[in-house]
Amino acid sequence: MPSDQQRILARAAREITAGQIVNLGIGLPTRLFHYLPPDLEVLVHSENGVLGCQLIDNGAEADPEMIDSGGAYIGTRPGASVFDSALSFAMIRRRRVGITFMGAFEVDRQGNLANWKIPGKFSPGIGGAMELAQKVERLVVLCSHNDKHGNPKILEHCRLPLTAPRCVSLIITEKAAMRVTHSGLEVVDIAEDLSVDALRAATGAELIIDESRLGRF
């Protein structure tokens, strides 16, 4: 049995196609690195100023001046470039990054995303999330379906301060993969061991489900 995180990551890796420029947010998304087929030609962008990140070869010593935006030591693949923060965000704002993966505190039916601040509790800043959320063509949210108290993270309307409005394309949790459409959240894939009713019960937003076309993961 894969863990919830493994299930999310394996499903997320299927969203990446050859030739893409990919940004991996801090936390869970960074681990997608380990799920990319070695022969898949993608360029991983990290907003601290590198295009073409890769995992450090086993046994190789880390270069102390090469990290990704999550602070992990990285290597680079052939064809990589490094650059300053203004150019890095120009690349994002000019929509040259094709897909980005991020965590979420809340996400809603309209594709609104909240992942940077919980007023009165947690406000360490926003980092590069706002530009990525607003300007990357496909934003895929990777998160647990519910918070640690069991409350749904997927809502009719976000209540927390937004990172960006109407920015999310796809939400992947351990329970389902859900596309944001004009008509609402459409379930594409559901976890193998889960019933449609159980998914609806764990979700704070209305879901569009066509059982005849539903994938399993």
């Binding site: 022969d39 030609e41 295009l51 052939p78 990589a80 965000f89 120009a90 690349m91």
Partner: protein, 233 residues
């Protein structure tokens, strides 16, 4: 390995995608950095009603000078056309619309498009004729002029080295507007004297990361106008 990031292409195929009426940024300050081979292919293919954005108009018998002389350019956005007699005649005859910007503002307007912003606020040109007609806003008791970004459909740039992903390295005073334009246009066609396999360039020395570049064309320094003649701004 899939090679979807390979942008190496035949020069005619790259230029053929440019349509009549396109707006085209052209690198170069005088001859250095002017993508002569790309411009010659554009001349040969016959696209018309072009808007060109270039620091200067080259001289009348090279580079964009030939396109202007052939009547293919409706509009030129530039900082100076003083050494191209034909461009001045075409302008005076009303066949070529010339829009003049101070050189540093022209560079910054292009850079601003490449940075993904709408415009910037400057004090350059306040109190001069060049500043007339600009929108001005007051901020903290001072006046600033709004300079909107300049975008283009296509950029034609000249690099010294490239790799097949489209990473670019420029050299000498052939850098000039090239890295700015390579970020500002929707589609970027780059010519380079040498095109290497990915990994053939040093990451720190890449001026334009491949994310901004659409097609790479190799040109031979020995047969190009690049560096083969006297030139001026």
């Amino acid at each position: 390995m899939t090679r979807l990031n390979d942008k190496y292409m035949d020069i005619d195929a790259a230029i053929a995608r440019i349509e009549d009426g396109a707006s085209i940024m052209v690198g170069g300050f005088g001859s250095p950095g002017t993508p002569f081979a790309l411009l010659d292919a554009l001349l040969e293919q016959g696209q018309r009603r072009l808007t060109l954005i270039k620091n200067d108009a080259n001289e009348s018998d090279i580079g964009i000078g030939k396109l202007i002389g052939a009547g293919r350019v409706d509009r030129l956005i530039t900082s100076h056309i003083g050494l191209n007699r034909v461009a001045i005649e075409e302008m005076n005859a009303g066949r070529l619309t010339v829009e003049i910007h101070p050189q540093g503002l022209l560079a910054e307007k292009i850079r601003c498009a490449g940075a993904g912003h709408f415009g910037f606020l400057t004090d350059i040109g306040l109190g001069t004729e060049i500043g007339e007609g600009r929108r001005e806003i007051d901020f903290d008791g001072k006046t600033w002029a709004v300079e909107p970004a300049i975008h283009a459909d296509v950029a034609l740039v000249h690099a010294d080295l490239a790799d097949r992903y489209g990473n670019l390295v420029y050299r000498g005073t052939a850098i000039n507007f090239n890295p700015l334009m390579a970020m500002a246009a929707e589609r970027v066609i780059a010519q380079a004297f040498a095109v290497k396999a990915p990994g053939g360039l040093v990451p720190e020395q890449i001026h334009t990361p491949c994310a901004f570049v659409s097609q790479i064309v190799q040109v031979d320094p020995a047969t190009s106008e690049q560096g083969r003649r006297a030139h001026a701004i």
